[in-house]
């Protein structure tokens, strides 16, 4: 009771420094947790974001670029794949089914991807979940100038069923390069929390034959999404395309390919982590500084407490507990900051990649980091506590004039 009262009153007496120090700890703790969670979730979500697909077949080039282009609708296509190559892989006995995609156009910066309706009817958006078209809409019909719009694009551009639009040439928006072809929106996809939400889907032939596209490559596709019959089938096709062939790239297994992305960003991860640790150390230093600097103002109170019979250990414990209490208050704020930072980061990542991070998901770091920081705060309190411990009683009982 005594220690609790001493800590509570001291926090109140030094309210401004308590609040400022707790806020700096809140920012530090929030940053540390956010960096940790974003990094972990981004890796897990990206590598697990391959939906129902086991592999991607594309032009000869980097596997990572191929996967980012075909599944995440990022990066440029490495080149085209002849339609005959699509047919060959689609009819291979090792393949359960294959869907072609073609890219090359956009609508206000959002990619337009040509594909076939079996992407929506046979494939899964994510494990155990198929794509759904929202109420009042339907899938496009192959061969027609119709489009199904991803939920994110629809909300951003305000596209509705029954409206028409004219695509722009290229992957980047250029108002001078609008195609003549007009597409009718037949449906809006329900949010799938996958990169498909950031895409406008049209029939494969529509993109291949868009006015202005080269007629010589009109039957080519950009990549083929592949569902294998068994894991062993991947090894056979890997051997066939990557080792024996030299025209195409077979990106498989997708998880391993995507982890290359994070391996390449490893240095950035480390820098971010280091910055977060430094911020935490600075915040712990601020606990030490704020309490240490207030020690001269507390000298008399400490002397009075000692004159009343408080032991040195009581005074020491009260200061350490106060530092821990400031850190604990900071950690309450840190959780708020964490969810704030994560919400912003998740919004940015979603708008840029379509990958959705779970803001409210549980992670052990949400307990480990606050506990660690409270401990660090308590440790920071040891230095001023030692000063209080050694504070002479008799000479400090005299009021300051």
């Amino acid at each position: 009771m005594t220690l609790a009262l001493l800590v509570r009153r001291s926090l109140r007496q030094h309210l401004l420094s308590t609040v400022v120090t707790a806020l700096s700890l809140a920012m530090a703790g929030g940053l540390l947790m956010s960096v940790w969670v974003v990094r972990k979730q981004a890796r897990e979500t990206f590598t697990g974001q391959t939906g129902a697909w086991d592999a991607v077949l594309g032009a000869r080039g980097a596997k990572l670029q191929l996967v980012l282009n075909a599944l995440f609708h990022l990066e440029a296509s490495a080149g085209n794949v002849a339609f005959s190559d699509f047919e060959a892989v689609a009819t291979n006995r090792a393949v359960a089914f294959a869907v072609p995609i073609a890219v090359g156009d956009n609508y206000f910066g959002y990619r337009i991807v040509g594909t076939r309706t079996n992407l929506f009817t046979e494939a899964e958006a994510s494990p155990g979940r198929r794509f759904q078209v929202g109420k009042g809409g339907r899938l496009f019909e192959d061969g027609y100038r119709e489009a199904v719009v991803g939920s994110f694009v629809a909300s951003r551009l305000g596209l509705k069923v029954g409206e028409t639009f004219r695509p722009y040439h290229g992957l980047n928006f250029n108002p001078k390069e609008q195609h003549e072809d007009e597409y009718l929106v037949t449906g809006i996809l329900e949010p799938s929390n996958t990169p498909a939400d950031r895409v406008i889907w049209i029939p494969l032939e529509g993109l291949q034959n868009m006015t202005g596209h080269a007629a010589a490559t009109a039957t080519d596709v950009s990549a083929v999404l592949v569902k294998l019959r068994s894991p062993i089938a991947g090894q056979q096709l890997d051997l066939m395309y990557n080792k024996q062939g030299n025209r195409l790239t077979f990106a498989w297994p997708l998880g391993a390919v995507l982890s290359q992305l994070f391996d390449k960003m490893g240095w950035f991860d480390k820098v971010l982590e280091l910055v977060a640790y430094l911020v935490v150390l600075v915040a712990a230093g601020s606990v030490l500084a704020s309490i240490y600097n207030s020690m001269s103002a507390r000298r008399r109170d400490i002397a009075i407490l000692r004159a009343l019979g408080a032991r040195r250990s009581t005074v020491f414990s009260a200061i350490v507990l106060e530092a821990a209490a400031v850190a604990a208050l900071g950690m309450l704020g840190a959780l708020v900051c964490h969810f704030g930072f994560l919400s912003v980061a998740a919004g940015v990542i979603r708008s840029q990649t379509g990958v959705v991070l779970e803001v409210w998901s549980w992670d052990p770091i949400l307990v480990i980091a606050p506990l660690g920081l409270v401990l660090l705060g308590a440790l920071a309190g040891v230095v001023p506590a030692l000063k209080a411990y050694r504070s002479p009683v008799a000479e400090n009982l005299v009021p300051e004039s």
Binding site: M1, T2, L5, L6, R9, S10, R12, Q13, R300, D301, I304, L305, R306, A307, L308, G309, A310, R311, R312, S313, T314, V393, A394, L397, V398, P399
Partner: protein, 228 residues
């Protein structure tokens, strides 16, 4: 058995800029029985506050013996002196030394918590006894000087100490408040059968005590100072 017994108590300090310790307290023998009330008179610099600090165990003696309620203060370590002070000694300071961030009630409760333990009912009753039952949650700065001294008195006697030390308790009060504070201190000590050692240089205060001891006479170090 006396509540306070002092034998050959010595304390010296090295003055600022000096090298050799200068004796401040040098007392041959002094004792105080339970319920006895003694006033110590002495001029400024006669070692009054140092003596009270030695008796309270706030300062450690260089040599000699101070027994409080049967325990030899000088043979105890710092933690032991803290415990003995909390349980057996009440200390009233000239400047009250109330904790400014704590209410009246909390000041009294804190004083109790280092001794036998906080007793809310007793703390309230004591503050009522000193006429502050309607000021329990007031901070010291919200009280008059006289009221602050009464809180200090309540805090000092809250643990029912065997010995109450009062260092110029009326020094900062006007005559009316000084008289009331003195009556309060002496009255509560009488009720609790506590020994009172009160330091003052106020003739009116000293005149109200049956036993007045001159510190200049008692303290050999002070005598030398006067002789010089």
């Amino acid at each position: 058995m006396p509540v306070l017994e002092i034998e050959e108590l010595k304390k010296a300090f090295v003055p600022p800029g000096g090298t050799a310790p200068v004796p401040v307290v040098d007392i041959g023998s002094f004792s105080l029985e339970a319920g006895e009330q003694v006033a110590l008179s002495g001029s400024s610099g006669s070692g009054k506050t140092t003596l009270l600090h030695l008796v309270a165990g706030i300062l450690a003696a260089d040599s000699g013996r101070v027994c409080v309620a049967g325990s030899d203060m000088t043979s105890l370590g710092e933690a032991g002196r803290d415990r003995l002070r909390a349980e057996s000694i009440g200390y009233i300071f000239q400047t009250f030394n109330l904790l400014q961030g704590y209410s009246c009630l909390e000041n009294v409760l804190l004083g109790m918590s280092f001794g036998p333990g906080a007793d809310m009912a007793h703390a309230r009753s004591l503050l009522g006894r000193v006429g502050l039952s309607d000021r329990l949650d007031y901070l010291p700065r919200q009280l008059s000087t006289g009221q602050q001294q009464r809180v200090a008195v309540a805090r000092a006697v809250a643990n029912r100490p065997r010995l109450v030390l009062a260092d110029e308790p009326t020094g900062n009060l006007d005559p009316s408040n000084a008289r009331q504070a003195l009556e309060l201190i002496r009255g509560i000590c009488t009720e609790n059968n506590a020994a009172l050692l009160l330091v003052s240089h106020d003739p009116a205060v000293l005149a109200s005590f049956k036993r007045v001891v001159s510190l200049t006479e008692l303290n050999r170090a002070a005598r030398k100072e006067v002789a010089l």
